[in-house]
Symmetry: C2
Subunit: 190 residues, 2 copies
């Protein structure tokens, strides 16, 4: 749980007593490669803060094609937030791509902590702010960038994910074909 | 300013004394059709909560093509949040499409109000949560939906914007050609 405390304290400091309370809302869970945390049709009861490992959040369309909504690594939060915040069933999947550990909590936990501790409301607001900005950047990129620009942005923002994530998934995330991605990889290496 | 109070009180109630303090951080500004609130190269000093009117936030790529990041109407908040939260220059534009009024504030205002009043931190967190969910939906739609599906989703979510916004801009927002959009309009009417 010390990792969770460290993560929270990147944004706001908490006393020992406060953290003793905060941690009662979180469960540490081991996750193995290829394990699913959420599957199409499940009730979206939890969100996850990653302590270790790499995950992908994806959507499968009616033709069976996968679309990657988000990759996530250490200190990132993930869920199908539309379903989670409205306590509905998800139409997404969350799969572990590199074994690790996650801190899970529930919407009750998020809301209760936010109501009881102003600093936790601040913590969640700051995390949402960062997520919101990242998504706005991604929307612009999907609307306006060429495959090459998207590839370069991704490689610049997330060099370690570039190393660790299979090309197939990076292509899905960028919305480009695998052939286009392979061409960009070799051009970049040349 | 009563409209601002009503908007805040949709999420959290505030006392008269609190609202007297809150309103010192906001300025009401009249905006006329075609007026710009933000322009490529400006410092993104403000964000805006719309009291009345319709706006578009857009990005112009190096070939002069416009890409619409967001439409905004009553009670929506808008800015180039990437630039605003990092206090940088924007590469976007915000243009008024239907005359109206906005409440503007600064990052200092948002942070100071959040720090001083737990309920305002809550207000901003809830607004961000809604925005985050909307953006996640838009990303999935851009990755996976056909032009027809995107058109139908937009028409269902925002029937009044469908009436009021020129087709040209709706096509830009959906990332489809004007010809495709015109076809969808007539099919829908048939």
């Amino acid at each position: 749980m010390e990792r969770l405390r460290k993560h929270i304290e990147e944004i706001t400091s908490v006393t020992d007593e406060e953290f003793d309370y905060i941690k009662t809302f979180f469960t540490l869970k081991q996750v193995r490669k290829h394990q699913y945390l959420l599957q199409d049709g499940d009730q979206a009861t939890h969100e996850y803060c990653i302590a270790k490992g790499i995950f992908r959040v994806f959507y499968v369309d009616k033709d069976g094609k996968e679309h990657i909504v988000q990759f996530a690594q250490q200190n990132w939060w993930m869920s199908d937030y539309g379903a989670y915040f409205h306590q509905k069933k998800t139409n997404m999947h969350i799969e572990c791509m590199e074994s690790g550990e996650v801190f899970s909590t529930t919407l009750y936990g998020r809301e209760k902590l936010s109501a009881d501790l102003h600093k936790m409301e601040h913590f969640f607001r700051v995390k949402l702010t960062n997520g919101y900005v990242g998504q706005q950047r991604r929307i612009i990129s999907l609307l306006s960038s060429t495959p090459q620009q998207r590839y370069e942005e991704f490689a610049e923002l997330y060099p370690n994910m570039m190393q660790k994530i299979p090309k197939k998934y990076i292509a899905e995330y960028l919305g480009v074909s695998r052939e286009t991605l392979s061409r960009l990889y070799s051009e970049n290496r040349a």
